[in-house]
């Protein structure tokens, strides 16, 4: 049993150690489960100095401070969401790489789908309109029909003398 636990801990340590990012040895927690949570959470927190990098892979001083802070909060018993709220209360939602869904971000979340729907509606209107015009031409009036008949008769008479050429 003890050997199994040891093997498990070693395997877990190997998984954690593999993508080392910018995490320095002195930051790593002794508890592998908490450390794994800290690593996952650090992937979702933006480094405010480099701005498009998570704190997990950033070498900036502030990123290091935030990594240590995240670990402290987890050790103190915070849930992942509590840690995120703690940081967002200080740095704003910008610190989260995944923007939260709320009134001010609806445009961000639903804007693309809305544009797709509008475009799709436009395309649908365009094609259905064209087909309707094609399928139902206006019927000929009596006058037009009479004229058409005259033209066809005249053509039939013209054709007769040349019948032997066929």
């Amino acid at each position: 049993m003890r050997a199994l636990l040891l093997a498990l801990a070693l395997a877990l340590a190997a998984i954690i150690a593999a993508p080392a990012g910018a995490v320095e040895p002195d930051e790593i927690l002794d508890d592998p489960v908490l450390e794994a949570r800290a690593r996952a959470l650090s992937q979702e927190i933006r480094c405010l100095v480099c701005q498009n990098e998570p704190i997990d892979s950033s070498g900036a001083d502030l990123a290091r401070d935030l990594r240590i802070l995240v670990r402290e909060r987890l050790v103190a018993g915070d849930s992942d969401d509590q840690v995120k709220d703690y940081l967002a209360a200080r740095f704003g939602d910008y610190v989260l790489l995944d923007p939260p869904m709320k009134l001010t971000t609806y445009a961000l979340w639903f804007g693309p789908a809305l544009i797709l729907l509008l475009g799709g509606f436009g395309v649908f209107r365009f094609f259905s309109g064209a087909r309707r015009a094609h399928v139902a031409p206006a019927p000929l009036s009596a006058e037009e029909r009479a004229r058409l008949e005259r033209l066809l008769d005249a053509e039939a008479e013209q054709d007769e003398p040349g019948a032997e050429n066929r």
Binding site: V49, D65, A89, F91
Partner: protein, 177 residues
């Protein structure tokens, strides 16, 4: 007539997008600047010792609710733009309606002392944030940063980067001064 109006929609959309780009080009907005969520919040709780080896009471949150408009300036000797704004801070000491206090952010005490001795000390009080934790509580992400605190001890404006007369006037306008 209705149908013809529909053809204007793409032109209108284009106009909105182009206008947005034009605004991005000509406005003096800095896209790297992160808006502060601390605006209109009371100052965070903190209690800082003075810089090691310097006389003075240090700085704590209660010092900022004294019924006076206060500028809180985060600085460090390793911060190059801090040197650039320093003459303006020295000049500010002549204004009697504004109190200037400093938070020395993650700085070796001897270097901070040497820096103040060389360039002059414009601060009525200085707290030493040796761990950077107070900076995090204020949402500081780069130096220098300057916060305007109103008489009730609420943060009313945050300026990132070198502060000058224009930036200060903009901040003061916000609280009607």
């Amino acid at each position: 007539m209705r149908r013809q109006l529909l053809y204007l929609i793409p032109a209108v959309i284009f106009g909105v997008i182009a206008g947005n780009f034009l605004w991005g080009l000509i406005s003096d907005r800095d896209p790297r600047e992160i808006p502060s969520v601390m605006i209109d919040q009371p100052v965070p709780e903190f209690d800082l010792e003075p810089i090691e080896g310097m006389a003075g009471p240090g700085l704590k949150s209660a010092d900022l609710t004294g019924g006076q408009v206060t500028l809180v300036n985060f600085f460090a000797s390793w911060c190059v733009p801090c040197r650039a704004e320093h003459p303006f801070l020295i000049e500010l000491t002549r204004r009697e309606d504004i109190r200037l206090v400093g938070i020395n952010y993650k700085n070796e005490p001897e270097e901070a002392r040497a820096w103040l001795a060389q360039l002059g000390n414009p601060y009525a009080a200085i707290g030493a944030d040796t761990t950077g934790r107070v900076g995090i509580d204020w949402g500081v992400y780069g130096l220098p940063e300057t916060f305007l605190i109103d008489a009730q001890g609420r943060i009313r404006y945050r300026h990132t980067g070198v502060i000058d007369a224009a930036a200060l006037n903009k901040a003061l306008q916000g609280i009607g001064k």
